[in-house]
Symmetry: C2
Subunit: 379 residues, 2 copies
C-alpha cells in the first residue's frame, strides 16, 4: 500500500512529473534545454502572478530565503520581520546571522499578523529597508493578509519580501497587483515536484537593493543569475531533471489555471475544516490557509500517538507540530497534487485513530461533513 | 535517436536510477527515509574513501565549494589556491568574495601543478590555513598529483580541501590514506545522478576550523548539518528523489567496487587517448584525468563547428573549451555510466566531423585504435 502524503511538502507527484523525472538526462548548455528553461521561467511568472524576472536556484526553499537576505541587505541594515511561526522565525535567524538589525513584530502562534502592528512598526522604524513576512506559515497553518501588508509597505521606503514557499498556488497572492517586491517559492509544495529547486521573483525596486548590497555571496549571488537569464541559463548547474519535470507540472497547473488551482485548494481546505469541526475538533489557525489546516489535538489525546497511528494503520502521513507545538497540533495539507480522495482517506484515518485512542467522536461525522462539502465541486 | 552524452556532467543515468527518480515521493522525516539517508551517507564514505562524516547539501557542486570556504575560513584568513583552470579559479573567486587573502599558485591551462610550487608556497605562507585544489580540473582534463600535494600539506598547519566534483570515482583519491581533510563531490558526474546534490567529507582537523570560522552562513552552515547527522537527517529539506536514486546508483557502484570503477574509467580514458593519437590529434592535458580527455582542435579546424557537427549529425554531445579555451579544445568524458559503446560512437562521430570539415585523417584510425584497447578488458 502506497503512502498517502498529506504533509505540507513534499507533496505527491503527478504521473507525468514522475515520468519526466525518469527520462534520460539532457545537457543543460543546449538549445533544447534552454527552450525548456525559458518556458519554465515564463510559467513561473504566471504562477507567481508577476511580470518580474524569476530566478531559479538549485537549493531548498531556505536557500532562496537566504538569497533574499544577502542580496537585499548589508550588515547594519535594518529590517522588519513579522513573526508567528517557525518559518517566519527563519527570516529572523537569517537576518541575525548576516548582521541585520531585526525589528521583530511578535505574533502568537496560530494568529496572523494584525496589519496595524505593521503600520506601527513602519512608523517606528522608517529606516527599515525590507519587511520580511510569510504568505502561509506552514507551521501554524495561517495565511497572512498580504494585501493589507503590501499596501502598508508600499507607503514606506521598504521592500516587501514574502516567503510563499508553501502558500504559492494555494493562497491567492497577486504579486504585482498587490505590490509585493520579492516572492520566494519552492518546488515541493504547490508545484507538485520533489524538493531541490527554489525560486525568487524580484521587481525593479528589489533589483536596486541587490545592486547595492555589500553582503558577500557567490552561490546565491542574484546578479550572476540575472546575467545568465539573458541566455536562458543559470550560472551554476541546474537540477536539470527537476526543471524538466517542472515543465510538465506547469502544463498541468496552467491548463487548469492559476485561479482555478487556488480555488480547488480553497474547496479542499473548507471541506477539511468542516470535517474537523464535525468531529468536534478545534482549528489552531485563526486565519486558516488554503494550503494546510492545523488542528488542535483534543485534551486527553497524545498528539504524537495520533499521527503515528494514522500512519501505521492507514498509511496516511500528516504532519505533527514543530518546536513548542509538537504534540499539540497536527496538520493536514491540501496543496499541489493532493486530491479530495486523499483528504477523504486522511479524514477516515483520523476518525479511526481518535476512536482507537478512546476519544469520543460521532462515527464518520468528519468524513461525512467533508464529503458533503466536496460534492458541489464535482470532486 | 537519443543523445549520447560524453559531457563531463551531467552524465547518463542508469535505468535503475531513472526508475528511482520516478517513484512516488516519500516524506523525509520518516524512519523509511532516514534508513535510506543513513545508508547513502555510508556508501558515500566508501566512495570518498574516508571514515570521516559526509555531509549532503541540496545544491550544485559550487554550493559545496562555497560551504568549504565559509565554514573553514574567516575574513582576513590566508589560503593557498592552486590554479590551472576554470574550476580552480572558482576557489579563488570564492575566497575573494569572502575576504580571504589568496596566495595563488599559477599553473598553465593544460598543466598539473608541480608539487614543488606548493612546497615553496607553504614555506612562503606559513600562516595559510587552507590549501584549495582540484582533483580533476574538468576544464582542462588534467588530474593533479594529490598524493604529493597531500603529503606536502600534511607537513604544514594547513587543511587540504579538494574539489573532486568531476574526479570522484574516475581518478583514484584515497582521502584518508593520503591525508586529505575535506573532499567535495557532486551528484552529476561519477555518481550517475542528475545535478542537485553535493557532498563534503570533513575530518577532525577540518571540523576544528568549522567551529572557529566567523564567516556568516546559514544554508551552508555545516554545524547544522553535523547536528542533524545524529538523526540521519538534514537541517533543510533534502532533494528526496535524488537521494533515493543515489541509493540505487551506489548499489551499482559498490557492487562493481570503487577500485574497479576507477580502473574501468582508466581503461576508457586510455582507449580514448589512443584513439585521439591515432587520428593525429594532440592531447591538451599534460597529466590526463581518467574522467575527461581534453584534445586540441587541430589547426585549420573550427572547434565550435566540430562539436556542433558531432551533435547535429551523430547526436553525440562532447564539451567544447570554456573561457579562453573556447574553440581551441574539445573534451570527451568517460566517467559515471558512460560506456565503451558511447565512447566508440563518440569516436566515430569525431572521425566523421573531422572528415566533413576537410581535416585529413586516416579513415577509422581512431575508432580502430580505441576498439583494440578496449578488447582486452572484455568490453
Amino acid at each position: 500500500m502506497a503512502d498517502i502524503l498529506l504533509t505540507p511538502g513534499p507533496t505527491p507527484l503527478p504521473p507525468e512529473v514522475r515520468e519526466a523525472l525518469g527520462r534520460p538526462i539532457i545537457h543543460h548548455r543546449t538549445s533544447q534545454y534552454r527552450a525548456v528553461f525559458k518556458r519554465v521561467l515564463q510559467g513561473m511568472q504566471t504562477v507567481m502572478q508577476t511580470s518580474s524576472s524569476v530566478v531559479c536556484l538549485t537549493s531548498s526553499g531556505t536557500g532562496a530565503m537566504e538569497a533574499a537576505v544577502v542580496n537585499l541587505l548589508s550588515p547594519g541594515d535594518e529590517a522588519i520581520v513579522i513573526l508567528g511561526g517557525k518559518f517566519a522565525e527563519r527570516w529572523q535567524k537569517l537576518c541575525n546571522v548576516y548582521g541585520i538589525t531585526v525589528r521583530a513584530i511578535p505574533v502568537a502562534y496560530g494568529a496572523a499578523v494584525d496589519p496595524k502592528q505593521l503600520a506601527v512598526a513602519l512608523k517606528d522604524y522608517p529606516n527599515a529597508k525590507v519587511v520580511f513576512t510569510t504568505l502561509c506559515e506552514t507551521s501554524t497553518g495561517i495565511v497572512n493578509d498580504l494585501r493589507s501588508i503590501a499596501a502598508l509597505t508600499r507607503k514606506s521606503q521598504a521592500v516587501l519580501v514574502v516567503d510563499a514557499i508553501s502558500g504559492l498556488l494555494a493562497d491567492d497572492c497577486p504579486t504585482d497587483q498587490w505590490g509585493i517586491d520579492v516572492l520566494v517559492a519552492g518546488s515541493q509544495k504547490g508545484l507538485m515536484l520533489p524538493p531541490g529547486l527554489a525560486f525568487l521573483s524580484l521587481n525593479a525596486r528589489a533589483w536596486e537593493l541587490v545592486e547595492r548590497s555589500k553582503t558577500p555571496r557567490f552561490y546565491t549571488d542574484l546578479r550572476l543569475y540575472r546575467k545568465s537569464l539573458a541566455d536562458d541559463d543559470t550560472p551554476f548547474t541546474s537540477a536539470v531533471s527537476t526543471v524538466i519535470a517542472l515543465d510538465e507540472a506547469l502544463k498541468r497547473i496552467l491548463s487548469m489555471g492559476v485561479t482555478q488551482t487556488i480555488e480547488h485548494c480553497g474547496q479542499l481546505a473548507a471541506a477539511t475544516r468542516a470535517g474537523m469541526k464535525a468531529l468536534g475538533l478545534e482549528l489552531f489557525s485563526q486565519r486558516p490557509s488554503n494550503g494546510v489546516t492545523a488542528v488542535q489535538v483534543p485534551a486527553g489525546v497524545d498528539g504524537k500517538q495520533l499521527t503515528k497511528i494514522m500512519y501505521e494503520r492507514s498509511r496516511v502521513m500528516v504532519a505533527g507540530g514543530q518546536g513548542e507545538m509538537a504534540g499539540k497540533i497536527f496538520r493536514f495539507a491540501h496543496m499541489g497534487y493532493i486530491s479530495s480522495e486523499d483528504i477523504f482517506a486522511g479524514m477516515k484515518a483520523l476518525e479511526a485513530a481518535l476512536a482507537s485512542l478512546g476519544h469520543p467522536i460521532k462515527p464518520d461525522a468528519g468524513s461525512r461533513a467533508l464529503q458533503s462539502m466536496l460534492q458541489p465541486s464535482g470532486a
